[in-house]
């Protein structure tokens, strides 16, 4: 057995440069040198206890951004601070909040974190600070895990309540009368990780904040907002839209940055004719193995739960012969809280060597010092990529970031254009509180929480007509002056902030008779393709087969199995235009935007063998279709040169694939927030059409953006398909399932035709 030899990051990179097998796959190495700190003095009025506690921690002056934060807060000005990872961003809000509580002990603050895990983590941090201040300040997390015994105390006496939007939405706001002392004295609302509040989730949270502000107004408080965000293009705009409050922006971080080495790694081509590269998952497995052997603590990011579980399965081979070795772990949403807590602890104390994660760990969970980070593919946007990269070398030491490109167009684009990642400005984060469905749901919640009067507005919205509509629906009752909630329903339970589907599917392991247990949960949309009967579901590297899916009751019953394949499922989609809000005619094409209704039908799934990734079987999925009303941009055109329907279908599919890959280059969204679907004969005009729609009921404004920039997207797609080294189409350009003769040529022809039309 080969002895594992510990190496430093720099030594390892050097050895790779000398290894011809590895070297040829590294397309680019970029080193970002360290950046010195910029300091400012403590504010004069900073409370002596805070000063003492800071000095005790070796902080004798502030970074400039921390000082700016304190000054804005003192003036009563809401603000947003944009700070890189490990820049001491939490002091941007701790200092003003603690100062306020020390000046007036009746003051209260809410800290809002996007996840429970983050709140728990920040609590430890804050409590340490308070402890060294030696002052009577009570801070608590309040979430689903909080024991009923201390809830009463938190409501009455907690100075700082750390919670998440979901808990605020369904656990606090609908019961605000139990929180009188909090709402009467609320001075600060802190929103950490602002950049995560985008898309559907952000749009929901924007309403939760509007409801919160409404309750504050009822109790006579007018809190200041403090937001902190990773680098995005529009932090101020996002904060203002989210909180419906004017913000100042702090964008110059005074914190120092450590040396970072970026490797851009492209898996070798194994099938030159088809341009097929070795699987990035396998490549990451090998790189992670090298890092493991060198004793470098590493975080591996993968884009999906399935990939996380596959990598965990592969990597655990490394420790198979060691008994009870927990040094390689998976981490993703869907694990139970205790499981996650244990993993976070293992990362901090070093007993875990490699953690494989979905973007759950992108956020600022404090996992201490990791030396390296591997990205399995491009996470979809620059802000996320930098967040992931920030996971390595948090505490200013030399860090290694390896980007391993997958086969997708976007992945290949990024690995060939390192400047895109390293140099370009990050994307916009969009939210759309005007989404009428989201708005209506929260309007119900707001009515439940406090009756609207005949003159009330809701946030920036004029809602009297909508309230009248809710009266017709039978949930509101109009009296002389007010709209009162008059129903036995609890509206907050009817909305989930996190996903388009409103209910989660619970995953139940019934392997052992008499001791069935819940091992996780999943949103309904994902469940359609991941938890159908016969699907292989992976959890902590263990394979389960779904034996029964009770769609009505939202329960999936699984049994532990040991098979050498995983499953992959397809959705068929049909679109119907309901109204056209915008349109542009071209000679032989037409661009439109408006409301559409969508029917998604899960069709078949495939069984794919591990390692070789060959298709070894398939089956039908029996899940009822999902109906959705949303917004879409569409581009219809006259069939060119009388292509046969088969040719047209394939060309259109290839074009949709290419375009879909590039949308995230232009708009910050999760890949799944926006879908591109080809229809050879669209229902509304019987013409070949590409639909680009928001994958969320009611739409969230993404496809409307596409309407304005579709020509640039098409232009970028053509270039990329052109330069792709494959002969006849591959997963990196027009998709792998294309059986078209001269596919690339046809797709390029179609796209060029469309681009030409649009000029």
């Amino acid at each position: 057995m080969q002895l594992n030899k510990k190496k430093s990051v720099d030594e390892l990179v050097q050895s790779w440069k000398n290894d011809s097998d590895i070297k040829k796959n590294i397309l680019h190495i970029e080193t970002i040198e360290e950046k010195p700190a910029h300091f400012a003095s403590f504010p004069e009025k900073l409370h002596p206890s805070i000063k003492r506690a800071l000095i005790e921690r070796g902080i004798s002056q502030l970074y400039t951004h921390q000082r700016d934060a304190f000054d804005y807060a003192s003036e009563g000005q809401s603000f947003t601070a944009v700070t890189p990872t490990a820049s001491g961003k939490s002091l941007c809000y701790h200092l003003p909040v603690l100062q306020q509580i020390l000046q007036d002990s009746s003051s209260r603050a809410i800290y809002l974190f996007p996840t429970k895990a983050l709140a728990q983590d920040q609590k430890t941090d804050l409590n340490n600070l308070i402890e060294s201040m030696d002052e009577e300040i009570l801070s608590y997390t309040y979430d689903g895990d909080t024991s009923p015994a201390i809830r009463q105390k938190i409501r009455k006496a907690g100075h700082i309540v750390m919670t998440n939007p979901d808990m605020l939405h369904s656990g606090i706001l609908p019961h605000h009368t139990k929180w009188v002392s909090l709402f009467e004295n609320l001075k600060y609302i802190v929103i950490d990780e602002l950049h995560t509040y985008k898309g559907v989730f952000g749009s929901h949270v924007a309403h939760v904040i509007r409801r919160l502000k409404r309750i504050c107004e009822f109790y006579g408080s007018k809190p200041i907002f403090i937001c902190t965000s990773a680098t995005i293009k529009n932090p101020k705009e996002l904060a203002e839209k989210l909180t419906n409050t004017t913000h100042e922006l702090i964008s110059n971080s005074g914190a120092p940055v450590g040396k970072k080495t970026f490797l851009f790694y492209n898996p070798p081509i194994v099938h030159p004719t088809f341009g097929v590269r070795r699987s990035s998952v396998l490549e990451v497995r090998d790189l992670a193995t090298e890092l493991y052997k060198a004793g470098i603590q590493t975080i591996v990011f993968a884009k999906s739960r399935v990939r996380v579980e596959m990598l965990v399965t592969y990597l655990k081979e490394l420790t198979k012969k060691k008994i009870q070795d927990e040094s390689i772990r998976g981490y993703r949403g869907g694990y139970l809280p205790t499981e996650r807590r244990a993993i976070e602890k293992g990362l901090r104390d070093g007993s875990i060597q490699i953690v494989v994660s979905t973007n759950a760990l992108e956020l600022g969970v404090d996992i201490g010092q990791l030396q390296a980070c591997i990205m399995t593919g491009y996470p979809g946007n620059i802000a996320s990529a930098w967040q992931q990269a920030g996971r390595a070398g948090r505490r200013q030491d030399s860090a290694l970031i390896i980007y391993v490109a997958g086969a997708t167009a976007l992945d290949q684009y990024v690995v060939n254009h390192p400047k895109y990642l390293l140099g370009s400005s990050p994307e916009e984060a969009l939210i759309n509180p005007e989404n009428i469905l989201i708005l209506m749901e929260h309007l119900k919640c707001a009515s439940f929480e406090l009756p609207f009067s005949m003159t009330d507005v809701y946030g920036e919205f004029e809602v009297q007509e909508l309230l009248a509509f809710l009266e017709e629906e039978g949930v509101l009752l109009k009296t002389s002056s007010n709209w009162h909630w008059m129903s036995d329903r609890f509206p907050a339970h009817e909305i989930s902030l996190r996903s388009s589907a409103q209910e989660n599917v619970v995953i139940i392991d019934w392997s052992i008779q008499g001791s069935t247990k819940v091992i996780g949960e999943m949103d309904t949309y994902s469940a359609m393709t991941l938890l159908h009967e016969e699907a292989i579901y992976l959890h902590q590297g263990i394979q389960y087969q779904v034996e029964k899916l009770d769609w009505e009751e939202k329960k999936a019953f699984v049994r532990e199995v040991d098979v050498d394949y995983f499953t992959d499922a397809n959705l068929a989609v049909e679109l119907k235009v309901l109204s056209e809000d915008k349109s542009k005619p071209y000679p032989s094409a037409q661009l439109g935007y408006g409301d559409v209704s969508l029917l998604a039908i899960p069709t078949i799934f495939k069984k794919i063998r591990f390692n070789t990734h060959e298709n070894i079987g398939s089956g039908k999925i029996h899940i009822p279709p999902l109906e959705m009303h949303t917004n879409s941009t569409w581009l219809s055109f006259e069939n060119l040169e009388n292509w046969s329907e088969d040719v047209l279908t394939d060309a259109l599919t290839g074009a949709a694939y290419a375009i879909g890959s590039f949308v995230p280059l232009f708009i910050q969204c999760d890949r799944k927030d926006l879908s591109v679907v080809p229809q050879v004969k669209a229902i509304h005009n019987e013409k070949p059409t590409l639909f680009i729609y928001d994958s969320y009921p009611g739409g969230i404004g993404l496809s409307e953006k596409v309407y304005d920039i579709l020509d640039s997207i098409i232009e970028e797609s053509i270039q990329h398909v052109d330069i792709c080294p494959c002969e006849n189409g591959c997963p990196s350009c027009i998709g792998v399932e294309n059986n078209l003769q001269n596919g690339k040529e046809k797709v390029t022809k179609l796209l060029s035709f469309l681009l030409n039309e649009m000029k």
């Binding site: 609908p174 929480e449 004029e462 909508l466 009162h484 036995d488 001791s515 409301d595 209704s597």
Partner: protein, 418 residues
């Protein structure tokens, strides 16, 4: 067609959404709401209108004589029950004295939780010199809520409020509604509370499957409702009464509430009898439960009185738990021989977890107090066998237990050898 109308609805909604125009917001001072248009309709159904500073509220009153019989008991027997507690001289959280200002209390609401749930009916029943007075207040409409709450008089002198599930439901709802009007109404008084759901659970555990008040009425209080409106319909009926202005059906909710309150009185009387008198016609489980409750309250004399009633008058499986609790009581009092005998009696009739507990207690008594190591080791071995075959523990619990017990056995073996 249905699909289309849903889609149209959304398009319609989008058009309704306006943008806010700047407006000066004036601070609300209390404005007395107008009277609802249906006052007369509701009066025709037997309700009275009361007007106070905050608006209007409906009220219904019924006077009952002391000899009015509801199920098995006359209401006036409440005085006998209080008398019994006065003579009992044992402090118990459910005891009443003649100093208590007693108010039986129950509400009907439009939902189950949260600020959007209104109380629309407050019913109280109090003892008066010549009988019992039922008073029901009905919310005229949500804008007249302050008037409704004010009239309940919960802001006046301290009462002893007797409820069924009121501690976790009705009273917190009153507090919530009060908070919403805290700038208008006088401060809510802190009242003493007795929750009969809690006592029923203690008394009838393992005896009644459901603790719904109607179940208790039928099984224990000899009262059967006729033409009762099920509670879950109350929210719809109230909302309908507001919209239609008709109160005919709403009156049935008032009757429902009235029965609830009458049953609270007889339930209190009946529970008192069970807590004070050791009647052998009661089920063994009930007597055992009461004995256990006194034990938990540290009234060992009372506890033994109830438990030994079971062991003396019943036989076989019914006595298992009584012997078990009695033995625990006796061990606590240093009566080790008796405790050991009673644990042995109990074991064949207990569930597996309690059997294991009993073997453990026996092993301890035999080893440390009675010094009969052979007996101790027999109990330890029997206990271990049970643990090994048990299905009620998970793997890690089991391993831990087995370890503990094996240690005990080892120690006992060593003691026997030396």
């Amino acid at each position: 067609m249905i699909e289309m109308s849903y889609e149209n609805k959304i398009l319609q909604l989008k058009k309704m959404l306006g943008s806010k125009k700047e407006k000066v917001v004036e601070k609300p001072t209390f404005v007395k709401p107008p009277k609802p248009s249906y006052l007369e309709n509701w009066v025709k159904c037997g309700l009275n209108v009361i007007e106070n500073d905050f608006g209007v509220v409906f009220k219904r009153e019924v006077m009952y004589s002391n000899d009015y019989k509801h199920g098995l008991y006359e209401l006036g027997s409440l005085y006998d029950a209080i008398d019994k507690w006065e003579n009992h001289r044992i402090s118990h959280p459910f005891s009443l004295s003649f100093d208590d200002d007693i108010l039986f209390f129950d509400t009907e609401t439009t939902g189950l939780k949260g600020v959007g749930t209104h109380i629309f009916l407050i019913g109280v029943l109090e003892a008066k010199t010549d009988g019992f007075l039922l008073t029901q207040y009905v919310l005229a409409d949500p804008s007249n809520e302050a008037a409704f709450l004010f009239e309940s008089k919960f802001w006046q002198t301290q009462k002893t409020i007797i409820t069924y599930n009121g501690k976790s439901f009705d009273w917190p709802q009153v507090e919530t509604r009060w908070t919403l009007h805290r700038n208008t109404l006088p401060k809510l008084t802190n009242h003493k509370q007795i929750d009969l759901l809690h006592s029923s659970k203690r008394i009838w555990k393992n005896n009644l499957e459901k603790m719904k008040l109607t179940t208790v009425e039928e099984e224990k209080l000899g009262f059967h409702r006729k033409g009762d409106i099920p509670g879950f319909l109350a929210p719809i009926i109230y909302a309908d009464a507001l919209k239609s202005g008709q109160a005919d059906t709403l009156i049935k909710v008032l009757y429902h509430n009235e029965w609830d309150l009458l049953s609270l009185v007889t339930l209190y009387i009946h529970s008192t009898n069970l807590l004070i008198e050791t009647r052998v016609e009661e089920a063994a489980t009930t007597l055992t439960n009461v004995g256990k409750w006194y034990g938990d309250l540290k009234h060992k004399g009372e506890s033994e009185r109830f438990l030994s009633k079971v062991t003396e008058h019943f036989e076989g499986p019914e006595t298992g738990l009584a012997y078990y609790y009695l033995a625990i009581e006796q061990k606590r009092n240093g009566q080790f021989v008796e405790a050991a005998i009673h644990f042995e009696y109990a074991i064949p009739h207990l569930d597996i977890k309690k059997q294991i507990k009993a073997y453990e207690q026996l092993a301890i008594v035999y080893e440390h107090q009675l010094k009969t190591f052979e007996k101790a080791i027999r109990c330890a071995l029997d206990g271990l066998k049970l643990i090994e075959n048990a299905t009620c523990f998970n793997a890690s619990q089991k391993i831990k237990l087995i370890e503990q017990w094996e240690k005990r056995i080892q120690r006992l073996e060593n003691k026997i050898i030396s």
